[in-house]
């Protein structure tokens, strides 16, 4: 019995190009108040195109209907829970959208004179300070555009510090439970990747670490809590081992939502970390971006941060471009300012005590789900979890139903799937992160749905394997999409 959803009419909609007809318009420009210029003359005839072949021609009415209809084909947080592990899909407060559109912020040009950007600079300075306090670190750069971009910045900082000490070293250690961005980042920063196997409890194997860290190891990249949602309780010991041998500790802050206000990476030995503002700090995912990936560091790494840095000159903010040891720029201008504004609005709304309460509710929700689903799904690691919980499909796989099938069936119950088949150290993982912005009713419905599916697997596994049934689009043929790529409309 599915209580949360029922079917309703869904509008069909052609592609823009199929809707086009020559001469239809959705715009009107003002009358030109200067003489028109002959393009061929001004630009050279060879430099002027005849037309943009195939470009859409639709009216304003058709344009709004087109995008509105498309929008109704999406699932979104505004519809309901998104139990995606490690993705921290929390509510996106609308006040964040409003303040980011205030004209004096939204239309600030990055090259306007500093004297006319003091408000924007103050926002960034306040954000840097807030993130430094939350992470327990000494300095923050807001320049990286997303989490993976922050990772790259962080690893380049480590390289710069080690280089200055005489040897950049060759390898980065990465646990087998890590996100794919970690090894990909290390490679771009010119490091070899060495995997470090998790212990039987799914945690960092400190004994193995002790043996692996040598003169070639630049850093360990660790996610804490790790991708099982478990806090690495030997993290301080790991930091001690690394520091003793001249290496550094990088923390992937993807799971910071479990720690804000409760524990600070700077206090447990982390040297450099990134934050995903679109996760922990509520800025919208927007269907896959934009993000922002600020990087927080200890004092020793501060001289290497990307240019420019904010500095106080008297009563004014200014930029410091003269930083000889800097790794350079990782992005034009100063960062994804619009995302920073939204995240700061979120921090202001919660305040210090509120952020801590949010963390507690996030963990409560995850533990509550675990307690209720444990009888129905295998839990490969029994350590206490924090903001997320990872089950395995072992029990269901015996009946031929895999985690991906259960996920698709969950759609019929009105939920977005959890994270499927990650982390890789869990066989057939079901990775569930509710976040603090789900209430008891929504979570209870999710738990009921998961239990109901577990029972369906026992009674009718074939039915589960062909789900979803209630979506306007049924299972999509991804194999053909990759084998015969059609990546643009050709008419």
């Amino acid at each position: 019995m599915i209580k949360k959803v029922t079917t309703h009419l869904s509008q069909n909609e052609a592609l823009l190009f199929e809707r086009s007809s020559p001469g239809k318009k959705g715009y009107q420009l003002p009358e030109l108040d200067v003489p028109a210029v002959d393009a061929a003359e001004a630009l050279g005839a060879d430099n002027v195109r005849a037309e943009i072949p195939g470009f859409p021609e639709v009216s304003e009415v058709e344009a709004i209907r087109h995008f509105t209809r498309l929008s109704t084909w999406n699932y979104a947080i505004d519809h309901g829970m998104y139990p995606l592990g490690s993705c921290t899909m929390k509510y996106n407060p609308r006040i964040n959208e409003l303040v980011a559109r205030i004209e004096g912020l939204a239309w600030a040009h990055p090259y306007a004179p500093e004297s006319l950007c003091q408000g924007a600079m103050e926002v960034m300075a306040r954000m840097e300070a807030a993130l430094a306090e939350i992470t327990g670190m000494d300095a923050v750069t807001l320049q990286p555009a997303a989490g993976a971009h922050g990772e790259l910045t962080g690893i380049l900082l480590i390289r710069a510090l080690l280089e200055k000490k005489g040897n950049p070293r060759k390898k980065i250690l990465i646990p087998d439970s890590a996100h794919g961005t970690n090894p990909a980042t290390a490679a771009i920063a010119g490091y070899a990747v060495q995997n470090i196997r998790s212990s039987e409890t799914g945690l960092l194997d400190v004994g193995a670490l002790e043996k692996m860290v040598d003169q070639d190891v630049a850093a360990l990249m660790v996610t804490n809590p790790n991708t099982l949602g478990v806090f690495e309780d030997h993290i301080m010991q790991a930091a001690e081992i690394l520091h003793r041998k001249g290496a550094l500790l990088y923390m992937d802050g993807a799971n910071m939502n479990a720690l804000v206000g409760m524990a600070r990476p700077g206090d447990f030995g982390v040297d450099v970390m990134h934050l995903n503002l679109h996760k922990t700090f509520s800025t919208p995912h927007g269907g896959g971006g934009p993000g922002a990936g600020p990087v927080a560091v200890k004092k020793a790494l501060e001289p290497f941060l990307p240019t420019p840095r904010l500095k106080r000159v008297g009563k004014k903010w200014a930029y410091d471009y003269k930083r000889k040891q800097s790794i350079g720029r990782v992005k034009a201008y100063y960062g994804n300012f619009g995302v920073l504004v939204r995240a700061l609005a979120y921090i202001l709304a919660h305040g210090g005590p509120g952020l801590r309460n949010a963390t507690m509710d996030a963990v409560l929700n995850a533990v509550y789900i675990r307690k209720q689903l444990e009888p129905y799904f295998d839990l490969p690691y029994s350590s206490p979890n924090m903001h997320e919980v990872v089950f395995s499909d072992d029990r269901q796989a015996r009946l031929g139903v895999r985690t991906g099938d259960i996920a698709k069936r969950l759609i019929d119950y009105g939920f977005h799937p959890y994270t499927v088949s990650f982390p890789l150290i869990v066989h057939g993982a079901l990775m569930i992160e509710p976040t603090e912005t789900e209430g008891k009713l929504e979570i209870d419905q999710f738990v009921e749905a998961m239990i109901s599916i577990a029972k369906e697997v026992e009674t009718d596994p074939e039915m589960v394997k062909n789900a979803p049934y209630h979506t306007r689009t049924s299972r999509v043929d991804e194999v053909t999409a990759a084998r015969k790529p059609v990546l643009r409309w050709k008419g």
């Binding site: 021609e57 344009a63 699932y75 206000g261 990782v330 305040g351």
Partner: protein, 452 residues
């Protein structure tokens, strides 16, 4: 708190199920030494009204009510109302990356349309679902060209946006990817093709040029392509002013187009978030970084879209991926998609023509430094005063002048880069011309005497 949807009694019931007396107990397993023993040193939470007040006050400390002639990679273009109407829909705003195709067809269809329009604009065969921005699209394009050619050296024109070149250097430094620069012609302000020839060798995998370039000049892309191709390198063409593509011949001779879409309804927003593009020829698809959406069918035989060719990406290939990039700029790319839809085929051209007309009107009143063809930006030499002094005079007239170039080009310390768009008013342009002419007048003693 308004973002925490639980009553005390619900929280109590949930704690009971978890078998703990308080939420703090859920953290009891954390080692004592790692726990924060004090409250965060951040003020208590505030209301919506106070948040709006805070940001309005900050906005008031920025430029308000100024006309601006700044471009240099970030342009003032009108944003049609439809753009925010569409991107404010929660179904787009609050959706996740469309990995679950069955419930993400809205985003997937729109990205497919985006990819198509970027191909139509750039004359390329395939475009990805967007990059962080133009500045980071450049090193990704360089890395792609290096992978495709097996040659590690990169040549970039000095007329490419200086901050883009800085980003390229940061990325390249540790990948065994030496970056060298070649010059621009001192009179034309466009590529010094002889200097490019001089710098070319058999080890160069990528030649990177920008058109219109940082000075607003239209570059000889075809000639640059010939030089690059002759020695087995790929040509990457960068753009920062997407509106120019309403008029300019697309860079069909290039192998990769890497650009910035900020002009397409993305507010300047003090430098971001924007959306970058990467587009290329069919044969380089598998070297391409970033997300791609492809067309397929669902099990009922209906047209459907999904993310595809993921074997290039970090979540599958890890350290062997084409890039570490994970996110794209979906919501920002959606803004650009709506913008391209609203203007469409005729509108983008008309818009480009207005930009051309405005910039040429302003330039006509001044002496441009370079003789090349330009779109909506150009360089002027300031006589008698520094560009900074001229800007100070303009600020008094509520006008933000052009970008003084000395900061990026010491040889152009006496020059500024001016930009006019469809938003530039004739009256403001007349003031800019008047103030700049005033500078010239003051510098000329002879004229002063005549006036006296």
């Amino acid at each position: 708190m308004r973002y925490l949807p639980k009553s005390d009694s619900e929280r109590r019931q949930m704690l009971d199920v978890c078998g703990v007396g308080s939420p703090e107990e859920l953290f009891a397993h954390l080692p004592e030494a790692v726990r924060l023993q004090r409250p965060l040193d951040l003020p208590p939470g505030i209301s919506e009204y106070e948040i709006v007040e805070y940001f309005r006050s900050r906005a008031a400390e920025n430029a308000n009510g100024y006309a601006s002639f700044l471009g240099a990679g970030v342009y003032n273009h009108y944003r049609p109302v439809l753009v925010d109407t569409v991107v404010s829909r929660g179904e787009f705003l609050t959706a996740y990356t469309p990995y679950q195709a069955e419930i993400s067809q809205g985003t997937l269809t729109q990205i497919f349309e985006f990819q198509t329009m970027i191909c139509q604009l750039t004359g390329m065969d395939v475009a990805n679902a967007s990059m962080y921005d133009g500045s980071t699209a450049v090193p990704e394009a360089a890395m792609m060209a290096v992978r495709a050619t097996g040659k590690g050296r990169v040549l970039v024109a000095k007329s490419v946006h200086p901050e883009y070149r800085e980003v390229l250097r940061t990325y390249a430094k540790h990948q065994g990817m030496p970056v060298a620069e070649f010059g621009y012609a001192a009179d034309g302000g466009t590529l010094d093709l002889e200097d490019l020839e001089r710098h070319m060798d058999g080890l160069t995998g990528a030649v990177i040029v920008q058109s219109p370039n940082f000075f607003g000049m239209v570059e000889p892309v075809k000639a640059a392509a010939e030089i690059a191709h002759k020695r087995g390198a790929l040509l990457v063409v960068v753009f920062t002013e997407a509106v120019s593509m309403g008029l300019l011949t697309p860079p069909v001779d290039a192998d990769i187009a890497a650009g910035e879409l900020q002009s397409f309804a993305i507010s300047p927003c003090y430098g971001g978030p924007y959306a970058g593009i990467l587009a290329t020829k069919e044969k380089f698809i598998r070297q391409m970084p970033g997300r791609l959406v492809g067309q397929t069918t669902d099990s009922r035989g209906n047209r459907a879209f999904c993310l595809t060719l993921a074997t290039r990406e970090q979540h599958i290939r890890r350290e062997k991926a084409t890039s570490n990039i994970c996110t794209n700029q979906a919501l920002i790319a959606l803004m650009a998609t709506v913008y391209m839809t609203v203007y469409g085929k005729e509108g983008l051209r008309e818009l480009a023509e207005q930009n051309l007309a405005k910039a040429h009107y302003l330039a006509g009143k001044l002496k441009t430094r370079f003789s090349g063809k330009f779109f909506n930006e150009f360089v002027v030499r300031v006589e008698g005063r520094t560009p900074e002094d001229v800007n100070k005079a303009l600020l008094k007239r509520k006008i933000i002048g052009g970008l003084p170039l000395g900061r990026f080009y010491p040889e152009l310390a006496d020059s500024m880069l001016l930009c006019a768009t469809e938003m530039s008013r004739r009256a403001d342009m007349d003031v800019v011309a008047e103030v700049l002419a005033g500078a010239a007048v003051e510098s000329s003693g002879a004229i002063k005497e005549v006036l006296a």
